[in-house]
């Protein structure tokens, strides 16, 4: 049992609300399935909660959480004897999240920006995104629905990801 003040609890709750989506997105980026990612970030937030007194509030809470998630991810891999992503790849993912969080006020709006960018995509592109990420259809099924090749779906997905990445960067640059 740890002893904390009401103010510390309020601070923690605020940080959970602000950061949970991005921390979850980070865990999902590490090739985890949703259940594992949610368990992992819940565990990570609890670790942060137990170290609440030690947290430096001047620093980014999101970056602190990513550090914990990364450690827990590697620990989980060792425990379950699963092959984890290498340090170099995790560093690339980390770097991208760090760029997205370079301005504090952008963190909470990142998903809003993504929504705006998604609306700028063509109808076909939006359909691929919706089928793949929301309806969780496989590339084979998307290819059959859209009457295109399966490889084309994969190529388009990669292109859409790059387009969205560029759009987010542009929007954040414009907002600064």
């Amino acid at each position: 049992m740890i002893s904390i003040t009401k103010e510390q609890l309020a601070y923690f709750e605020k940080q959970v609300i602000l950061n949970h989506k991005q921390v979850l997105a980070y865990a999902l980026s590490l090739n985890l399935d949703r259940h594992a990612a949610e368990d992992l970030i819940q565990d990570a937030f609890l670790t942060a909660f137990h170290k609440l007194a030690e947290i430096d509030r001047d620093r980014s809470f999101g970056a602190y959480m990513r550090g914990i998630v990364r450690f827990k991810y590697l620990e989980r891999g060792r425990k379950l004897k699963e092959i984890c992503l290498g340090d170099a790849i995790i560093d690339i993912v980390d770097q991208q999240f760090m760029e997205w969080n370079s301005g504090e006020h952008h963190r909470m709006h990142l998903f809003d920006i993504l929504e705006q960018c998604n609306e700028k995509l063509t109808e076909d592109q939006q359909q691929i995104i919706r089928m793949f990420y929301t309806e969780k259809a496989q590339c084979e099924m998307i290819a059959a629905t859209m009457k295109i090749n399966e490889t084309t779906v994969r190529k388009r997905l990669e292109r859409i990801r790059n387009e969205l990445k560029g759009c987010i960067k542009k929007q954040q640059k414009g907002a600064r």
């Binding site: 609890l9 450690f71 993504l114 995104i129 990420y133 990445k165």
Partner: protein, 324 residues
């Protein structure tokens, strides 16, 4: 279709490393859009509350201003006296060094790194003691500080891999014995600020290219793929390349490079022709060499959080015992 089955297949879809962050973002966006994940927030907060004893400050009965002042004034006076004492003493690194350089401890900025000890991986915590044969791996964009009891310190840049091999006793020609601190830098960059201690020999740092030893001074050592150099800021560093018998001495303002054909070159920083290398050296210096006042601030911060006391156990700084 069963969601779980699809989710398990999903990670097998090939994604380029540069797109993995975007993939994670889209997976969360696809599932929940821009809305907050209420269930997740709820379960995190419920679990957190279960493990916490929440202290609530409440005023049970009306308290007069005079009675508040009665308690507040002595407290304020005590705080003011403590403030003056702290301001006067501070935490300075110029104190008399009493201890040897043994028992280093570790501090790190976020996102930190990993300390590997006897096959187990531990997340770096501030004030963590480092044992012989421990390996420190830092994450990108973090800096770790390996602080020795004699106030010598190593700043370890992000993406570095360094091992602390402990101390070795060396017998001198006059039969006296001195100790050496042995460190290996497998990959990455370090800044060393080494303090001369009477009963210690030199710090030796092994790299895949060779071994350097330093008794007192400041230096930057970079060992990255396609880039190896040693810049000496003060003091003198001896470097012996693995394939050469000769030991070279690198002086302040000089840079030791390993060029094509594994030849060891010593050049003055001002004479460096390659502007790219010069820029790289300057960037490393800006990133790593924290000035003394900055480092003092960091220590003060950690001291207040009671996390760095292990690093300075029994050290007398500015003629008073600061850390218990």
């Amino acid at each position: 279709m069963n969601n779980q089955k699809i989710e398990k297949k999903r990670p097998d879809e090939p994604v380029a490393p540069e797109s993995m962050a975007m993939e994670g973002l889209l997976r969360e966006f696809g599932e929940n859009g821009t809305a907050p994940h209420r269930d997740l927030i709820g379960s995190i907060m419920t679990e957190a509350r279960k493990t916490a004893d929440i202290t609530v400050t409440t005023v049970s009965q009306p308290v007069s201003v005079i009675s508040i002042l009665k308690y507040l004034l002595p407290a304020a006076a005590c705080l003011a006296i403590m403030g003056v004492l702290i301001f006067k003493s501070g935490i300075t690194l110029t104190g008399k060094v009493k201890l040897t350089a043994e028992s280093p401890c570790l501090m790190a900025s976020t996102p930190g790194g990993i300390l590997e000890r006897a096959g187990a991986s531990l997340a770096i915590r501030n004030g963590m003691k480092v044992n012989s044969h421990d390996q420190i791996k830092t994450y990108a964009s973090s800096i770790a500080y390996l602080q020795f009891n004699d106030l010598s310190r190593l700043e370890i840049s992000g993406n570095s891999n360094i091992s602390y091999n402990g101390t070795a006793v060396i017998r001198q020609p006059d039969n006296s014995r001195i100790k050496k601190i042995d460190i290996s830098l497998q990959e990455g960059a370090i800044y060393g600020n080494i303090v001369k201690t009477s009963n210690y020999g030199a710090f030796t740092i092994k790299t895949p290219q060779g071994k350097l030893s330093i008794r007192q001074g400041k230096f930057i050592l970079v060992n990255k793929p396609n880039s190896f150099y040693l810049e000496v800021i003060s003091g003198a560093v001896q470097f012996k390349a693995d394939h050469q018998a000769k030991v070279v001495k690198v002086k302040p303002g000089q840079v030791c490079l390993i060029g094509a054909g594994q030849t060891v070159k010593i050049v003055s920083l001002n004479q460096l022709n390659s502007s790219m290398l010069k820029q790289q050296i300057i960037a490393s210096r800006q990133r790593l060499t924290m000035n003394e006042s900055g480092f003092e601030q960091l220590l003060l911060k950690l001291y207040k959080k009671k996390k760095a006391d292990i690093c300075f156990k029994r050290n007398k700084l500015k003629n008073r015992r600061i850390f218990l």
